[in-house]
């Protein structure tokens, strides 16, 4: 147990904690907003917007910076650690951080009595943030490696996030668009294609992660 916990401890200790100010600020902001909007259904929408909208955007941006922003990147590259392991540890840590935000947020919602049941049962509700978070994380990571630039990965995430947000009704109903639609879980939780959409996004995420892995192996592009 001790053995495997040590690298994780260092993964956390070496993480640039200043990256977490923005997600923490959003968490607090969406909590405050909810206290101020009057109608219960707006409160529910606001909570959904945080979980399935704001959080995935932040997750994608954090993932874009997860590896290439390391101050000792060349030392990391000079170690015999395989690329998949670095990828797994760093993105895994970000997923854990994002999960903490999501769960603590839902706990707060429960405390102040906000009903999240329109997003589906407890388990299905988790997919509404988890799937888009994974998809944008995979996109951010693959984009950062493909363009050898963390900021480029983050821009790509923000672009897709914005385009899907603006064209959400098209994405939700189009016979191809719905398989790429990251907001299905919060925008149209009753859609018969919800599970198919989640499944296709997860498959796409895996492809993008495999792409990230292949790109990361070519270390000379990043130093």
């Amino acid at each position: 147990m001790k053995r495997s916990s040590t690298p994780l401890r260092y993964t956390l200790l070496t993480y640039r904690l200043d990256h977490l100010w923005l997600p923490a600020a959003f968490w607090a902001l969406f909590l405050l907003l909810i206290l101020f909007v009057p109608q219960p259904e707006s409160k529910t929408n606001m909570a959904a917007a945080y979980l399935g909208g704001a959080l995935p955007l932040l997750a994608g941006i954090l993932a874009a910076y997860a590896i290439l922003d390391d101050p000792a990147l060349e030392l990391q590259f000079s170690s015999p650690r395989p690329a998949w392991r670095t990828l797994f540890e760093r993105l895994g840590m970000i997923l854990v951080i994002v999960g903490l935000f999501a769960f603590s947020y839902q706990a707060c919602m429960a405390l102040i009595g906000i009903d999240l049941s329109p997003l589906g049962g407890i388990a299905l509700r988790q997919l509404a943030w988890l799937v888009p978070c994974l998809a944008l994380m995979a996109l951010g990571s693959a984009g950062a490696f493909a363009l050898a630039q963390p900021a480029a990965g983050a821009m790509l995430v923000a672009l897709i996030w914005m385009v899907e947000l603006l064209l959400r009704s098209w994405f939700a109903s189009n016979e191809w668009g719905r398989y790429l639609f990251i907001y299905m879980g919060i925008y149209a939780p009753q859609n018969p294609y919800l599970i198919a959409s989640h499944a296709s996004l997860l498959a796409l995420s895996l492809l993008l992660l495999a792409g990230s892995w292949a790109l990361l192996k070519n270390q000379e592009r990043y130093i």
């Binding site: 001790k2 053995r3 040590t6 690298p7 260092y10 200790l13 070496t14 390391d70 101050p71 000792a72 990147l73 060349e74 030392l75 990391q76 590259f77 000079s78 170690s79 015999p80 650690r81 395989p82 192996k217 270390q219 000379e220 130093i223």
Partner: protein, 302 residues
């Protein structure tokens, strides 16, 4: 330890490609080897290839028998090597001990008690035992380099590669660091790169000179100096007349009766009164670069 044959490295493709190394052949064994060259010569590229981070474009590179162009070989090299990069980025929030411990974990040293003991050993070896539990962000340049060396030594490598480790250090730190490297080279191979001639002087038995991606010389410091025999002159001018005509001024000194120049070049035709001088390593380096520019390559077999 290191066998390089016809190594070429080209960055990028097409019109924007950069030839960082050209048809370089070199072999290096035990002891301290100094690689000298100006900025942009290709030193960092060569060291990164030897460290398994950059892939060769052409040619063969073997480090302790492992092929540096295959994925498997690179991993094997990384596990047996100690490497200190030129741009040494560290984790400011870690202490020196945590940093070395983390790097040891990355090098697959999984046995915790043994690892902890080794970390304390290398910190002691580089003179950081007192400061081991201070955060790296408070370290001076020299201390950071020593923490870097501690990390590079943690797996007791038979080959240590250090890329311009003395740049940015003050003279005292530089001397201390150089002595540390000489010490370490007593029972392992150390490959040191630098653009500073003094770093090589007395410390390296063998050296190479790299310029524009080509190896201009390989041998002992005395041999380079020998090649510059008869090419170094001193002359004192009184009328403000400055030497030019194919001579390089390595130093000048204003005296009460004129200006004394130290010149490197074939023969000081315009100054028949010039006195031949004993070349030093720096003069020899200047002569080597100069004769390369003039197309007269002095090249030892690698």
């Amino acid at each position: 330890m290191i066998e390089i044959q016809h190594l070429t490295k080209v960055y990028g493709r097409g019109a924007k490609s950069v030839w960082a190394l050209r048809d370089l052949s070199l072999s290096i064994d035990e002891g301290m080897f100094g690689l000298l060259g100006p900025n942009g010569a290709g030193k960092t590229t060569l060291m990164r290839i030897l460290a398994g981070i950059v892939s060769p474009s052409q040619g063969s590179v073997r480090v302790a028998g492992h092929d540096a162009s295959t994925e498997k070989g690179k991993t094997a090299i990384k596990a047996m090597l100690g490497y200190l990069p030129q741009e040494l980025g560290l984790y400011p929030e870690l202490t020196a001990r945590q940093f070395v411990d983390y790097m040891a974990i990355l090098k697959n040293m999984n046995d915790e008690p043994a690892r902890r003991k080794r970390v304390a050993e290398v910190l002691e070896l580089v003179g950081l035992a007192q400061d081991a539990d201070r955060k790296l962000k408070g370290f001076s340049g020299g201390m950071k380099r020593r923490a870097g060396i501690a990390h590079a030594l943690v797996n007791d490598p038979r080959l240590l590669i250090v890329d311009e480790p003395t740049s940015g250090l003050d003279p005292e730190e530089r001397i201390r660091f150089r002595n540390l490297l000489v010490d370490l080279a007593s029972d392992r191979a150390v490959l040191l790169s630098t653009h500073i001639v003094e770093d090589i002087g007395q410390t390296c038995r063998e050296m190479g000179v790299l310029s524009h991606g080509e190896l201009l010389f390989r041998g002992s410091p005395n041999e380079v100096i020998g090649a510059a025999q008869g090419k170094v002159w001193t002359v004192t001018t009184t009328n403000g007349h400055k030497p030019n005509h194919g001579m390089t001024v390595v130093s000048m000194l204003h005296l009460s009766d004129g200006t004394q120049y130290r010149l490197v070049g074939p023969q000081p035709g315009e100054f028949p009164e010039a006195q031949p001088a004993q070349p030093g390593l720096e003069d020899a380096y200047v002569w080597l670069m100069k004769s390369k520019e003039e197309g007269a390559r002095v090249k030892d077999e690698g």
